[in-house]
Symmetry: C2
Subunit: 479 residues, 2 copies
């Protein structure tokens, strides 16, 4: 038991120090690691496999709405970045600058893309001529760089992986519809595949993206009661179009400006999976995106026929379309159990000589540790059903946690008290005034998360100034 | 006909100006385009879809050999790049330097990765402790930057997309076996999926990678008789391991240096597909990697039932696992034919009212323009068989072209004459002396491509100095 205990003991309990618990899981589940490059991570195979699963699923959802992938340059010349005033103000302070190419200094310095609006604008301005060329629905998978001062694995790093979609449309209505459509794609993906419930809503003007007329967001709640902005979708109106001269000839033969959107989701979702589902034994991966859904562990491997039978079960599960691995390494079963729990594999199959004699195996759920004795003849169906049950139960538990950590406040004092006593989402009425938003942030130490689409009237007056208020806002301490 | 002719007329004939023909195809097939960032391209959806198909296929082949994907930082601190002497000499003159992060100058400048050996070395030095941790078989898909002075779409650009595999092993034998294995993965991929025959061989010391003890290569021949280095696999021995302190405790409990390989393939393969298979009507995509394998084009779309029947055929082909599209746009059939030829779609299905009445459709091969009348009941099988036939025939034609443009030379004068008269591969015996290699390059204007694994004795003496020679080398003018 020495080894097994050691493996478990090295994780700080969540209740003791959530931040350290998070770092321990990232490290022990071998998801990512620090490098000699300050603020940049290496995403290790176990972490990258999760990203590949996220990519495959999101990419399929994007393409189903007509989106095509492309690739834009890594660099943005300074002059291009500066074309849209709000945008450059938002990003210039946090970009990395390339000033030398080969042995010569550059005539114009270039930043490493922090996001690619300006490159897509430049491209659309050149390539779109007529309403027949619209809409353009492009996306790219790439890395971006933002020179953050403090960094945390997956949640905030100087370089991170993401996708960025950029579309242009003939009308404002179409652009608005696409902005909302992509927010819903993100929300469905989070809820159906990551088993993470989200609040869908709009950012306040204070919190919207640099250069957007409207930013929509999905907000999720981590186990420690902090909020995580999980995906955003922006409507730019024709602001960039005017700055970049993005015009097209419409059906009525007049020149018009294009209407534009962008939307992105990043590797921080791996952090969300850890912080929504994990426990003191490690990671818990939702079956839909788990790179390995089932692990088969033979017990008493030295007994004749055990390894062979375990391999046979693995092959049967694989043939049934389940992502499955066999752990026939020479480590002891107790170590293997702790190891696959740490890595968050949703379901394990234990098989020993007695099981074989009884024509059965034992299935153990990662999420509840429940053990299910299963006749070998029913393995595929039982495993497939259990994976769906686990997926659903993980979502339900996360939603139950989120709902039970969502509080309503009538006054600023109540807000402060909730922040001090129960970390979670706070719902409160707002008059719409930027001054109140600023004051709440300053005094309660929380930020507005969104104006939810699903409005619930939690009072009559603004939580801050007491004036009549018709909008309900979500607030929280954010990552 | 005006439009159709226009579409075709805009391509420069291959025989008139090969370089311009290439550029025209890249442009008219909408594969990529220039940007405001000097030397960097945008890869447009039609080009990126080919890259996605290449990625999917190569990635599957890599994973079948046990390789896992990961992601390393975009930046390399100068000190890290300088650790291996040959490597830094090879790359330092052509890297882009980041000197400022946010509003502050960096204490140590960093280059944008031109390749990631140094980052993987740093990672392996930290994470591998024991022989139990070996081998490590990692790969990443990313972009790299090399500050080239002259650039050409796909073939040479300042930023390009690629994969780079980096492995470490306990023994020299294992590293050598992996180096050769990955070269064969590339060669099989090129021949089986891209329909491009390759010569497998070893680079001379003069041409090997900066820091490698041996570089292996696959070389292919373009339609204009120029050679293209299409994939390389390097054995580093323990050179980097010594420079980076990459040691592990072996079974015998002694500290040993790791043995290392790396191997890469890039978006330049899209250029190879164009230059090996294309013709004066445009691109020709090998069916195995064509994003769209079949296009269905209804004729006389205004006649009742034609579009519906065409859509039905599309659905049937899709259900049979064929990547298929329907062109029911309001353009004329002649335009559609020219357009899908330009885009290189391997097979088109034409369907008009008379065909429907006769219970048939017409299949047209892109590679030969052959027309095949096919009973509608046999569509799936006929189309699937034809795609395989096209794949095989494209390979055979490319091999026939390659073989008929491979020449043997006995003397340096013969080499010069061949270069002047018949562009292609030149095979010649070599004494092994660097001086002869240098002289041939200087006087004949060609570079050694490789020492092929499959040695054929084309003479007795070195083509340059006349001394006895036992090695046969491939030479050519390279992209």
């Amino acid at each position: 038991m020495a080894d097994d205990k050691k493996l478990v003991q090295e994780i700080t309990p969540m209740s003791e120090d959530f931040a350290q618990w998070y770092t321990d899981i990232v490290k022990k589940a071998e998801l990512c690691d620090y490098t000699s490059v300050k603020g940049c991570m290496v995403i290790k195979p176990a972490g990258y496999a999760i990203w590949e699963a996220i990519q495959a699923d999101l990419d399929r959802r994007f393409k189903a709405t007509g989106v095509q992938n492309c690739y834009m340059p890594l660099f943005i010349p300074e002059g291009l970045l500066q074309k849209e005033k709000d945008h450059v103000e938002g990003f210039a302070p946090e970009v990395a600058w390339v000033t030398q190419g080969g042995l010569e200094p550059l005539q114009e310095r270039m930043c490493v893309r922090p996001t690619s609006e300006t490159l897509f604008c430049d491209y659309y301005a050149k390539t779109v001529q007529s309403y027949r060329d619209l809409p353009q629905l492009l996306n790219q998978w790439c890395s971006v760089v933002r020179w953050e001062k403090t960094t945390r694995p997956f949640l905030r790093s100087r370089e991170f992986l993401w996708q960025e979609g950029h579309t242009v449309h003939a009308t404002a209505e179409e652009a608005q519809a696409r902005t909302e459509m992509m927010l819903n794609v993100y929300a469905d993906f989070c809820e159906e595949d990551l088993a993470i419930p989200v609040v869908r809503g709009q950012k306040t003007d204070k919190e919207k993206f640099a250069g957007a007329i409207a930013t929509y967001t999905i907000e999720s709640l981590m186990h420690d009661g902090k909020a995580l902005q999980s995906g955003t979708s922006h409507n730019f109106g024709d602001g960039f179009a005017r700055a970049f001269g993005m015009q097209f000839t419409d059906k009525d033969n007049t020149l018009k400006y294009m209407h534009q959107t962008s939307w992105g989701m990043t590797t921080r979702m791996i952090g969300a999976i850890i912080m929504v589902h994990g426990d003191d034994s490690g990671l818990k991966l939702p079956p839909h995106i788990a790179p390995t859904q089932v692990i088969v562990i033979p017990i008493q491997m030295n007994k004749e026929g055990v390894v062979e039978k375990a391999a046979e079960l693995k092959d049967r599960l694989a043939a049934a379309g389940i992502r499955v691995k066999l752990d026939d390494s020479d480590r002891r079963p107790g170590f293997k159990f702790a190891d696959c729990e740490m890595r968050g594999i949703p379901l394990r199959v234990e098989l020993g000589p007695k099981d074989i004699a009884a024509g059965q195996c034992v299935l153990v759920r990662r999420d509840t540790r429940e053990k299910i004795v299963c006749p070998l003849s029913e393995l595929e169906k039982t495993a497939a059903d259990l994976l769906e049950t686990i997926q659903k139960d993980m979502y339900d538990r996360a939603k139950e946690h989120r709902d039970s950590h969502t509080y309503d406040a009538q006054t600023l004092d109540e807000m402060k008290q909730i922040v001090a006593e129960h970390p979670g989402f706070i719902r409160a009425m707002w008059c719409g005034d930027r001054a109140c938003e600023d004051k709440i942030k300053e005094e309660a130490g929380i930020t507005s998360r969104c104006i939810p689409f699903h409005q619930v009237k939690v009072g009559e007056k603004c939580v801050c100034c007491g004036k009549p208020a018709s909008k309900m806002l979500y607030w929280g301490v954010a990552y």
